[in-house]
Symmetry: C2
Subunit: 441 residues, 2 copies
C-alpha cells in the first residue's frame, strides 16, 4: 500500500541522529535511520578502547536493538553517497530513499590538513577500526622493543607521540602514560616499559586550548605525574615511519618515535560538502555546514543539519563545539520542529544550547571540569566524570561491565583488552632471544 | 653472564603450555614460553565470541600478565617455524632459541580434509580472527536479507549451516538458533529472523557422536526446541558461495545457504609434522604426534609433546580427546617430569588422565553432561556448565564480566557484541529500500 505518512530520513546513528529518531517516537510519521554501521558508537570512551581498557562492544550499541520497540522507526544499513535535493532523495551506495524531511547527522572524519599521507603513520581516533589500529600499535611497540637489541631503536619503539592536546589528545597521552608506568610494569624481561617516553604535542601555547587556562595548568600537572611530556607552540611539519618533525619558535626538532597518534583535527563528513554544493550553503574551514538558527539549511526548511557536522553559532557567536550534548540537544530540537510543523504549530525559530559544561579525564583520579562558573580538577572532577559517563552509556549492560573494568583497572592497573590480532602489523626484529638489554642483571 | 640454568622452552600458551609453565614456577630453571599471540585463549568459550555474546578480550588473558610474577619465566612473542633436534634449537620466524628441554604444545588448526578451498565459504573456529569472520557473516546475513527483495535469495541469506556436530557444532548451531529466534526478533522491518533455517550436519548417524547416545537424543531435543534441524549420516561433498551439497543414503541434496560454519575437523599444527619428520615419530590421521606413555618423543626424552597435538592413548587405548583438561593435566605432568629429572629422581613413566567428564551447552538452560557413570542434560547440566566454566576462566575480571553478559543475555536475549566492522565483507544487494517483504502489511 502507498505510504501516506510523512517520511523523515535521518543520516547517521550518532548522538544527534539517534536523539532525533527517539524524539520522534509516537509521532504519526515514518522514520528511517540510515547508517553504514549497525551500531551507535559512544565516542567519548573511544580512547579507552584504543588503549585496551574497554573492548569495542562495550562502547557500541546495536542500532536495531536501541530502536527495536519504536514502531515508526526503521534502521537501514547503508551508505549515503549523494543527496538529490530537487527530487528529495537520498542516494545510497546500493539504492535510494525518498524523504519528506531530511536530518543530516553524518559527523566528522579524521583530517590531516592536507597531509593525508600522514595517516598511515599517525592514525586518528574516530571509528572502531581506528581503535584496533591504535591499540595494535601501542601494545606491539612494547613487544618489538622487548625483542630489539639495538638500544637506539628500542628507544624509538618506546617513544610515543600524541599530536593534538584537546580532550582526546590528553586522554590518549594520559592512558599511554599509565600503560607504560603501571599496566606493563614488570611484565617484560628485557625492557622497562616505565622508561617509555610519551610526548603530547600541540601548536597552541597551552594544552587544552579550548579550556580555561587554569585547567590547562591542572591538566599539565596531572600529565607530568603520569610521565607525559608536553610540547606546546610546536607545529608538526612532518610525520613518517621514524617519527615526527616539530617546528618550534626556537627551531626545528626531530622526535624519533615509532608510535604516533593523531588527535589534532577532524573535518566534516563528505556529505557536508555535497549538501553545501547542492544548496549553495557555506562550509566553514572545518568543513561544517553553516546552518540557520533553526538548524535547517537556508532555503531548505526540509533539510536539517545537526551535530558535529553543523556549524551553529553559540551565545558568544563562535560555532558550538563538536560535543555529544550539543548533538543530542540539536537532535531533539530538530524532532520538535518536525512535530510542530506537522501539527501546524510554528516551529521553534532558534536552537539554544544548554551548556552543562565539559570535562576531560587525564588518568587515575585526575580530570578537569569546566562547568559554568566552576573550573576544577583532581579526584572529584574524576569521579564526576566517571559517574556522568556511566549514566550516559546507552546500554545498561555496558554500564555495569564498563564500571567493572574501570574498577579492576583502578585497583590492579591491568587492562583486559590487549589481545593483539595477527594482522602482520607486528613485525618483530631479527634477534637471538637471550641477548637482551637486561641479561646479566 | 652465561646462563647455567636448565632452559625449558615451551611452544604454545594454550592450556597445556601455560599449565606446564606455571607448574615450573620456583624451579631452579629458566622457562621461555613462545607463542605467536600475546594472549592465552580460553577456547571453550570461543563460540560465544563468534556469536556476539562475548567480546574477544573476555576470553583472552595477556600471557605476560598471567606470568608476570613468575620470576623464572619469560614470554617470547614469536612464531616457531622449525626445530633443530640435533642442536637443540627452536627456529623462530625471526631468530632462534636454544633449549635443554622442549615442550611442544602447539595445538591444532582447522582442517578441511583436502578441501582447503572450502575455508573461504565455511570458516572454522579456532582463533580470535575466526570469531570475527564468523560473527561478521552471521549478523551480516540478516542485514543483507533485510535489504533483499527476492524471496528466494532472502531465504538463502536466512539459511545457516553448521558442519560437524561435536561440542563446537552443537554449541554454534544452538547459538545461531537463539540469535534468530530471540536476539533479533522484532529488530527488523522486512524480515522475520525467527523464520531462519539453521541446519546442523554430520556424517555420523547421530549428533555428538563422541558422547553416549542417550545424550545425543537429549541434545537433539534441545536443538529442535531452538528451531535447529539436524541432518545426520550426511556427508558434505561440496561447499561453495551458494551453500553445501550433502550426500545421504537416500541420495544427494543441495542446501542453499549463504552462511556456513565449519566445525568438522581440526589437524595438528604443522610443528607436529616437522618434529615427526625430524625424529621419525608417527603422526596419526589427524596429524597428532604419537608420544610415549610419558608424553616424550621416543628416543628424545628431552622433547615433550602435550595437549591437542599429542596422540596419547587413554584407558581404553584410543587416543585422549583434545580437551582443555587433558592438556592442562599433561602440562603439569611434563613439568613434574622435568623437575624430577633435575632433582635426580625417577620421572613418572606414564601419564594418566583423570577424566572429570565432558559437557556441551546447547542453549538457554540446556546442556548435556557425560560425567563418569552419570549422563544427564537439561537445566542442571547447564548450570553446572556455567559454574565450571566461570571458575575456569583465567582472569577474575573476565569471570565477572562474562557472568554479567550471560545474565543479561539470559534475561534480555540481547547480545552486546554485534558490532560489524567495515571490512567490505558486508555487500548489500542493490534495492530500493521501501520495497520490501513486509510492506503493505
Amino acid at each position: 500500500m502507498p505510504q501516506p505518512l510523512h517520511h523523515v530520513v535521518i543520516i547517521g546513528g550518532g548522538f544527534g541522529g539517534l536523539a532525533a529518531a527517539r524524539a520522534l517516537r509516537d509521532a504519526p510519521i515514518r522514520v528511517t535511520l540510515v547508517d553504514k554501521r549497525n551500531f551507535h558508537l559512544f565516542q567519548p570512551l573511544l580512547y579507552q578502547v584504543a588503549t585496551g581498557l574497554l573492548c569495542p562492544s562495550e562502547v557500541t550499541s546495536p542500532l536495531r536493538h536501541v530502536l527495536k520497540n519504536q514502531e515508526n522507526a526503521t534502521v537501514l544499513l547503508g551508505e549515503a553517497t549523494d543527496i538529490d535535493v530537487e527530487e528529495k532523495k537520498v542516494i545510497l551506495a546500493d539504492g535510494e530513499l525518498g524523504y519528506d524531511t531530511l536530518v543530516i547527522a553524518a559527523g566528522m572524519v579524521n583530517h590531516y590538513h592536507g597531509h593525508e599521507e600522514w595517516e598511515q603513520w599517525a592514525p586518528g581516533l574516530k571509528t572502531i577500526e581506528d581503535t584496533g589500529r591504535i591499540r595494535q600499535r601501542i601494545f606491539s611497540a612494547f613487544e618489538i622493543a622487548e625483542r630489539e637489541p639495538d638500544p637506539a631503536l628500542r628507544r624509538e619503539w618506546l617513544t610515543f607521540v600524541v599530536i593534538g592536546s584537546g580532550a582526546t589528545g590528553i586522554e590518549l597521552s594520559g592512558m599511554i602514560g599509565e600503560i607504560a608506568k603501571n599496566t606493563l610494569r614488570g611484565e617484560f624481561r628485557s625492557i622497562f616499559p616505565e622508561e617509555s617516553r610519551v610526548l603530547l604535542v600541540d601548536a597552541a601555547e597551552r594544552i587544552l586550548p579550548s579550556y580555561p587556562s587554569g585547567l590547562s595548568m591542572l591538566a599539565e600537572k596531572s600529565l607530568t605525574a603520569l610521565g607525559v611530556e608536553t610540547a606546546t607552540s610546536a607545529r608538526v611539519v612532518e610525520v613518517n615511519e621514524r617519527g615526527v618533525v616539530l617546528e618550534k619558535p626556537e627551531g626545528r626538532s626531530v622526535i624519533r618515535a615509532r608510535t604516533v597518534v593523531w588527535a589534532s583535527g577532524v573535518a566534516g563528513s563528505p556529505l557536508g560538502g555535497i549538501i553545501a554544493g547542492k544548496t549553495g550553503t557555506v562550509l566553514d574551514r572545518a568543513g561544517r555546514v553553516a546552518v540557520a538558527p533553526d538548524l535547517t539549511i537556508p532555503g531548505h526548511p526540509e533539510i536539517f543539519v545537526i551535530g558535529d557536522l553543523a556549524s551553529c553559532p553559540g551565545k558568544d557567536g563562535s560555532p558550538l563545539p563538536g560535543l555529544a550534548p550539543v548533538a543530542t540537544q540539536q537532535g531533539r530540537f530538530a524532532a520538535k520542529s518536525i512535530r510542530s510543523r506537522l501539527e501546524g504549530r510554528p516551529a521553534p525559530s532558534r536552537f539554544h544550547y544548554f551548556d552543562k559544561g565539559t570535562m576531560a579525564v587525564i588518568g587515575r583520579g585526575a580530570a578537569v571540569a569546566d562547568i559554568g562558573r566552576w573550573h576544577f580538577g583532581g579526584r572529584f572532577a574524576w569521579f564526576l566524570w566517571l559517574f556522568i559517563h556511566l549514566l550516559l552509556l546507552i546500554q545498561f549492560q555496558n554500564r555495569l561491565i564498563v564500571l567493572i573494568r574501570w574498577a579492576f583497572q583502578y585497583f590492579s592497573y591491568n587492562r583486559g583488552a590487549r589481545n593483539l590480532m595477527l594482522r602482520g602489523t607486528l613485525k618483530l626484529p631479527i634477534t637471538r632471544p637471550g641477548e637482551n638489554a637486561r641479561d646479566g642483571q
